[in-house]
């Protein structure tokens, strides 16, 4: 059963067409890779799911309804930038998530933060960029959401941190829920993907099961991506 459905959805920014007639279904219980070069429309799609942008035409349905308060209760979103209020302490951030998200697991968040040697009394503004990103990921993954949307979760971190992030994602996501990961660093994540979506110049150019792609094309998804999007 589809959880999210894009129906003939287009998004323009002035004369520029960022998304062109997208038709896509996202089901429950799968890990999706939304893969495409920079400027292909990945973040625009993600922003539309999260109600941060509105489509120019067509529609998007989440559990049969337009994005809104109900969809925000069940989607846990990690944007590609830091969205934290830097004047907060870690304990205040935990309280903030607890106050607004019924599905937030405080114990899990504290446990994950302690593993990273982050204390509740630490100030967010005194943390490095990488640590802030990890704190943000911990908050997002500590929700028992139906869908986790992770926009470039490994984009700005070193390879060692990438492993930590991928492990955190895989060991902490709610069973039966879905993950949509957007990235252009495919080799790091391709082993965890169930379904692969290639997007280029605002169009879906491939939407297939990851194992089927490997069998049919007899190559890795990373190699296929490099061939498909060769400059």
């Amino acid at each position: 059963m589809e959880f999210i459905e894009f129906k003939n959805l287009s998004k323009n920014f002035g004369p520029k067409e960022a998304l062109k007639n997208i038709n896509l279904k996202i089901e429950k219980g799968k890990i999706y890779g939304l893969l495409g070069p920079n400027g292909s429309g990945k973040t625009t799609m993600i922003k539309i799911i999260n109600d941060l942008l509105q489509p120019t035409s067509g529609e998007i349905l989440i559990n049969g309804r337009e994005p809104g308060i109900e969809s925000k209760k069940i989607i846990s979103f990690l944007p590609e930038r830091t969205y934290l209020n830097m004047n907060m302490k870690v304990s205040e951030l935990i309280q903030f998530f607890k106050d607004f998200y019924e599905d937030f697991d405080e114990k899990k968040a504290i446990q994950l933060l302690h593993k990273l040697k982050i204390k509740e009394t630490d100030q967010l503004k005194n943390m490095s960029k990488g640590t802030k990103e990890k704190v943000q990921l911990v908050m997002v993954m500590s929700r028992k959401a139906d869908l986790y949307i992770l926009d470039e979760p490994i984009g700005g971190v070193d390879p060692a941190s990438r492993d930590y992030i991928l492990e955190t994602i895989l060991t902490n996501f709610n069973e039966g829920s879905s993950i949509l990961i957007s990235t252009h660093l495919i080799s790091d994540i391709e082993k965890i993907l169930d379904q692969v979506i290639f997007i280029n110049q605002g169009k879906i150019v491939l939407n297939e099961d990851a194992d089927t792609i490997r069998k049919k094309k007899k190559t890795t998804i990373d190699k296929l991506f490099r061939e498909e999007f060769k400059c």
Binding site: F13, K47, N50, D51, L52, L53, Q54, I69, E70, K72, K73, I75, F77, P79, R81, T82, Y83, L84, N85, N87, F96, D99, F100, Y101
Partner: protein, 260 residues
Amino acid sequence: MLSKLLKYDFKSLSKISIPVYLVSLLLALLTRVINMLADKFHVFSVPSGFISGIFVVVLIAIPIATFIFTILKFYQNLIKDEGYLMHTLPVSKNSLILSKTISSTVFIVISFIFSILFLFVGVYGIWFDSKLLSLIWDLFKQVDTVFIILIMLSILISVIFNQVMIYASIALGQKHNNKVMYSVIYGVVLYNVTQILSVVILLPVMFLDPNYQKYINGTSISDFGLINGYLLFALFLSILFTVAYYVLTVKVLDKKLNLG
């Protein structure tokens, strides 16, 4: 959810405002002490003039700075990076904007009251003469009570109106790539639209009102009833514009959000 949003908005604004109030109170006390010394020792007259000047500037700046700060918080919290969190919370846009409006108004009013209070502290110290208070009370009693209430309400509504008009400008401006520039442009447009509409609505009313004509001709000059009537009308217009710009802000951020 509104109460939770209010909790965080109040907390965020108080982190800056409370230290500012404390520093201003210290400055008021310092001004009072130096002025007292200047009365007794001539050598303190120059520092007294200097600190009194700074004190007056600070008193005027407190409510203005609070107003600017609340607008910056609105922009930072809902349009810049923090907006990615705020707009993905399971709360309505109305709650988001209402929380900002209430918390900002409370802090601007508190700043205004503190400015007046600190002025008294700077001039008279912390022990007010009871004669001074009764003098102020006598002054109030001489003026029409309804007039005082209407003036107070007008100031309050004006604070809310100006905030909401800027919120609407920012909401309209964020639809464009250059969000700051367009917010300023929309701000100028909305301000002028409000002014023109107010005049267009108020002028025919004044011309058709026989009491106003009498007032102009000097036959009924000290008529608080007439002034209060117009104050009430202006207040009604301000509330109308405030509601219109509030609804516009909520609708635009709900249906035309464009986080960059």
